[in-house]
C-alpha cells in the first residue's frame, strides 16, 4: 500500500485522448484493463457482466477525458467511474428483482457469484477443496454486505488500496472508509459465528 505520487504521467495520455488520439486511448485501456476488469468482476460477481461494465467504464472515461482535473492517479479516477457504474448496476438489479418479486437466497441485488469456480491448479485435492470452501464462504459473506461496505472491503482487501486511496476512489473521508471497513469486518465475523473473546474477561 504505497503512498500516491503527486501526479501521474497517465494524465498526459489522457490529455492526448481528449485531443482525439485514439491510439493513446488504446494504450490507456491496455494499461488499466486488467485491474479494472478484476474490480468489476469482484463487485458484480460475474465475468461477462464485468466485461460489459469495464467497456462502459472506459468509454465513459473516453467521453470525459477533456473534463477531468488531473489530480492524483489516473487509476483512482477510473476506479471511481467503475465503482459508481457497478454499484448502479447492482441497484438496478436489486430494483428489477424487487419489481419481479424475486427472492435471492443471499441478498437482493447482491453480486451474482453464480458461475462455477475456475479449475484448480493446487498441489493436492484437499487443499483445492479447502480453497474452494473459503472462496464460497467469502462470496457469501461479501454478498450479504451493504453496497457501500462491500465496495470498501473489495478496494482494501482485494485491490490492496490504502484507506486514503479508497477514500479518494469513493469520494468519502478516510474516517468513513475505516468505519465501513470496521462494520464490514464485524458483520463478517458475526456471519462466521466465530466465538468472540472478551478482552475484559481476559484481564480477570
Amino acid at each position: 500500500m504505497g503512498a500516491d505520487l503527486p501526479t501521474d504521467p497517465g494524465w498526459d495520455a489522457l490529455a492526448r485522448v481528449a485531443a482525439g488520439d485514439t491510439g493513446a486511448f488504446t494504450g490507456l485501456v491496455e494499461t488499466h484493463q486488467e485491474r479494472l476488469l478484476r474490480l468489476c468482476e469482484r463487485l458484480l460477481g460475474d465475468p461477462e457482466e464485468a466485461r460489459d461494465a469495464a467497456q462502459e467504464v472506459f468509454l465513459k472515461a473516453f467521453r470525459k477525458a477533456g473534463e477531468v482535473r488531473p489530480l492524483g492517479q489516473v487509476y483512482t479516477w477510473l476506479y471511481r467511474i467503475a465503482v459508481n457504474h457497478c454499484l448502479n448496476k447492482l441497484r438496478r438489479r436489486k430494483l428489477v428483482r424487487f419489481l419481479r418479486l424475486e427472492t435471492n437466497p443471499e441478498e437482493p441485488g447482491a453480486p451474482a457469484f453464480g458461475l462455477p469456480d475456475p479449475p484448480d491448479t493446487g498441489p493436492d485435492p484437499i487443499s483445492a477443496l479447502e480453497a474452494r470452501r473459503r472462496w464460497q464462504s467469502t462470496r457469501k459473506a461479501i454478498a450479504k454486505l451493504p453496497d457501500n461496505q462491500r465496495a470498501v472491503l473489495i478496494l482494501v482487501r482485494f485491490e490492496g488500496l490504502s484507506y486514503r486511496q479508497a477514500a479518494e476512489v469513493l469520494g468519502i473521508t478516510e474516517g468513513a472508509v475505516e468505519s465501513r471497513l470496521f462494520r464490514a469486518m464485524r458483520r463478517i465475523a458475526q456471519e462466521k459465528d466465530a466465538p468472540r473473546v472478551s478482552r475484559t474477561e481476559g484481564k480477570r
Binding site: T22, R51, L181
Partner: protein, 138 residues
C-alpha cells in the same frame, strides 16, 4: 473497559492489521498485546478473519479487448451526437406527444351521452314489421 474504549481498541487493531496505524501507536499496541493475551488473541482472530477472505482468480483479459473498445470509441468519435441534435430530438418528442394528445382529443366524441345506443334490430324494419301485423288483423 467501557464500550467506547473497546471499539476504539478494536479499530486500532484493524488499523494495525491493515498497516494504517502510525508507527509509534503500533509499537505501543504490540507491547500491550504482549502483556495482554486476550488482546493478542483478539488480534489473531481479526487477522485470521481478514486473511481468510479469499476469492478465486478473476477471468483473464479477453484477447483484443482494448482494440474492441478503441474501435467503439472511434465510431463514437466519427459519428458524434452534437448537443443540438439531442435538444432537437427531445423537442420533437414533446411536440409529437402534444400533437398526438391534441388530435386524439379532437377525435373523441363531443358528448358521449348523446351517443346512440347500438340496436340489434333496425328501427325501421321493426316498424314495418309491426305495420304488417296490424294490416293482417281483421
Amino acid at each position: 473497559m467501557n464500550r467506547t474504549m473497546e471499539v476504539e481498541l478494536e479499530l486500532d487493531l484493524i488499523r494495525l492489521l491493515h498497516g494504517e496505524l502510525p508507527e509509534e501507536r503500533a509499537r505501543e499496541l504490540r507491547a500491550r498485546m504482549e502483556r495482554d493475551p486476550a488482546l493478542a488473541k483478539e488480534y489473531l482472530r481479526l487477522q485470521e478473519s481478514w486473511e481468510g477472505l479469499t476469492l478465486p482468480p478473476t477471468a483473464p483479459v479477453p484477447p483484443g479487448f482494448a482494440q474492441r473498445i478503441a474501435a467503439r470509441a472511434r465510431t463514437e468519435q466519427a459519428v458524434p451526437t452534437p448537443g443540438w441534435v439531442r435538444i432537437a430530438a427531445a423537442l420533437a418528442l414533446i411536440l409529437g406527444t402534444a400533437v398526438g394528445v391534441g388530435v386524439g382529443g379532437s377525435w373523441a366524441p363531443a358528448d358521449p351521452v348523446q351517443e346512440e345506443e347500438p340496436s340489434a334490430v333496425d328501427g325501421s324494419l321493426a316498424e314495418s314489421y309491426l305495420t304488417t301485423l296490424e294490416d293482417l288483423e281483421p
